[in-house]
Symmetry: C2
Subunit: 339 residues, 2 copies
DNA sequence: CTGAAAGCGCTAACAC
DNA sequence: GTGTTAGCGCTTTCAG
């Protein structure tokens, strides 16, 4: 039933040696094969429905054509957008993508890195932020072991020490958002800051606050879960504390939090933007269908994926590329100056 | 620099034979090893930071621990939800997921199946609908070759001939939707039917129409692209043709089309549901943030993924499991009977 | 319970 | 240009 056809079968069928068959089929670099023989081998292969065994090739060549991709959660639109870019780019390089999800668990992350090492992945791309004070010794060690093996590694989102990274300019984006909102006439803000220990959230929060300077003020900056529910709860709390009445705009450190806040505002009978303006961060594509359109800072997910693959496949070194973000003003933060 | 540690190194370090080291580390089924030696080997492995080479194991054992997953587009929320379930389930079975995207190209699909065969994948899950009249000879042949090799295969969405499948009951769901809308008092419908040759779209359209019977009528059933733009354009056209005024509700054969239609209605200054009611199909999670909440038929993406993996890993046979869909009534189709 | 040795399917020196 | 052959790192009979 499981009658595998091997290269020797093809060689025999074509009446050539194993080596010739191998060269004919994959076109080895140095040695070349007479066209006539190539044809004979190709035909024999087709006749027998031969498929090269990638595991055997990997073994003989000492390297695979697998690129490992680690994300927190592939169902998250941020990661799935990145994954799409990674898959596309990897395929263009003739690589297969081995996908694993870390569930935002640092221990698991290290474990999966080890798994990639076992698989002899050609390169590995790690997406997704980590916590600031996180004990990442295990991760660092796994990464080091991986790198020592000659595996290309790239991190997406926030730089990982010692690893080529393509970082999102969260600070810059947040600063640009602050500037835009100030320009539109907003002065008093509430910030849904996300988890305090999360680098991405922190950068966005601080970037916003710093850029505000003395041109604006922050009535409240609350710690929240980095989720829809986090944003939802936070807004309810702000309303309950009476802070909301005193605020021009609520700024969330990511889009899904902003959407949660939007839902909460609606539940409270508050209009967005009439009663409170709202901005997010991330630029996930599904925002398209939300009304009012959400003011946000777009992160170029596609570019992150593409560049990470290139980085992982290139000369390693401790590069940190940075990609910029763009402010997109939507209906959720109308121009106050006209009023 | 790339000094790989092999099992022989470990064996030497532990002072045992290669065979014993192998048995000690992976705990081979039949033969067992004296605990003391196991410990010595384990320690040696740890000391040398030994990692088994998965490609070599695959080669020696004749099988990999890879599960191939084929989707049209991993950035699509439908597929990313399925992928999340597949990855989770596969990991629980100790399998790695090799992800590839077909870009909705049948030729590419066959090609990727061949690739999975080369990779000696243990099992393959194919998600995503195909066209009805599609020349799928290449696909069928590739699948057959794969199956002959003993690789478990499962298809998600619509059954593939000769392949274990977990199908979505699109007809039933559409019929249930029709019944619900009729109950709510809707009578005249416009259907955004999707591409006529696409099985999924066709089943939903026909299921809806059949269930309507003589209790309702269809003013218009238009062919559209299965995308946001498709829904958008279709609604504009309906409005232009004056059909919309004559219709109680617009029913789209998938959610993103419904969202496109929603956007188009807004552009035309039409209120949903005041001026026209709207329903979709699919139940993608990002609908949560759309106002009004969209009436839709939810497809259990997670269950699809989980069951497909089980199917692919189980006894093959020509099984077709079917998963049901649930109608969820939202604000986009209010109860007309009160009015 | 342990070891020696024969492969798994392919590539890459190395000869001819 | 083509063929021979020695591995790649591991598992697994088969002897002991």
């Amino acid at each position: 039933m499981v009658q595998r056809v091997t290269l020797s079968d093809v060689a025999r069928e074509a009446g050539v040696s194993l080596a010739t068959a191998s060269r004919a089929i994959n076109g080895s670099a140095d040695r070349s094969v007479r066209p006539e023989l190539v044809e004979r081998v190709t035909e024999a292969a087709a006749r027998l429905q031969y498929t090269p065994d990638a595991t055997a090739q990997a073994m003989a060549r000492g390297r695979t054509t697998t690129l490992g991709l680690l994300v927190h959660d592939i169902a998250d639109p941020y990661f799935s957008a990145i994954a799409a870019a990674v898959v596309r780019t990897a395929e263009a390089e003739g690589l297969q993508v081995s996908l694993a999800t870390t569930q935002n668990d640092p221990a698991r992350e290290a474990q999966l890195i080890d798994l990639m090492r076992r698989q002899r992945a050609r390169a590995v791309v790690i997406a997704g932020g980590r916590s600031a004070g996180e004990r990442s010794d295990a991760l660092a060690e796994s990464l080091a072991a991986l790198g020592r093996q000659g595996v290309g590694i790239a991190a997406i989102g926030q730089p990982v020490p010692g690893v080529a990274s393509v970082a999102v300019d969260n600070r810059g984006g947040a600063a640009a958002l602050a500037a835009s909102l100030l320009d539109l006439g907003y002065r008093r803000f509430a910030v849904l800051g996300g988890p305090t220990d999360r680098v991405t959230a922190r950068d966005r929060r601080e970037g916003f606050l710093d850029a505000l300077g003395d041109r604006g003020s922050v009535a409240s900056s609350v710690e929240t879960a980095f989720t829809w529910e986090g944003g939802h709860r936070a807004l309810l709390r702000l309303a309950q504390d009476g802070v909301l009445a005193d605020v021009d705009a609520v700024v969330a450190t990511n889009d899904v939090m902003a959407l949660g806040a939007l839902a909460a505002a609606r539940e409270l009978g508050l209009g967005v933007p009439q009663d409170v303006a709202l901005a997010g961060f991330g630029g996930i594509s599904t925002l398209r269908d939300v009304v009012p359109t959400l003011t946000t800072v777009t992160v170029p997910m596609d570019e992150l994926g593409v560049r990470a693959v290139r980085l992982a496949l290139g000369d390693q070194g401790d590069v940190v590329e940075s990609v910029g973000c763009d402010v997109v003003i939507g209906g959720s933060t109308p121009d106050l100056r006209g009023a």
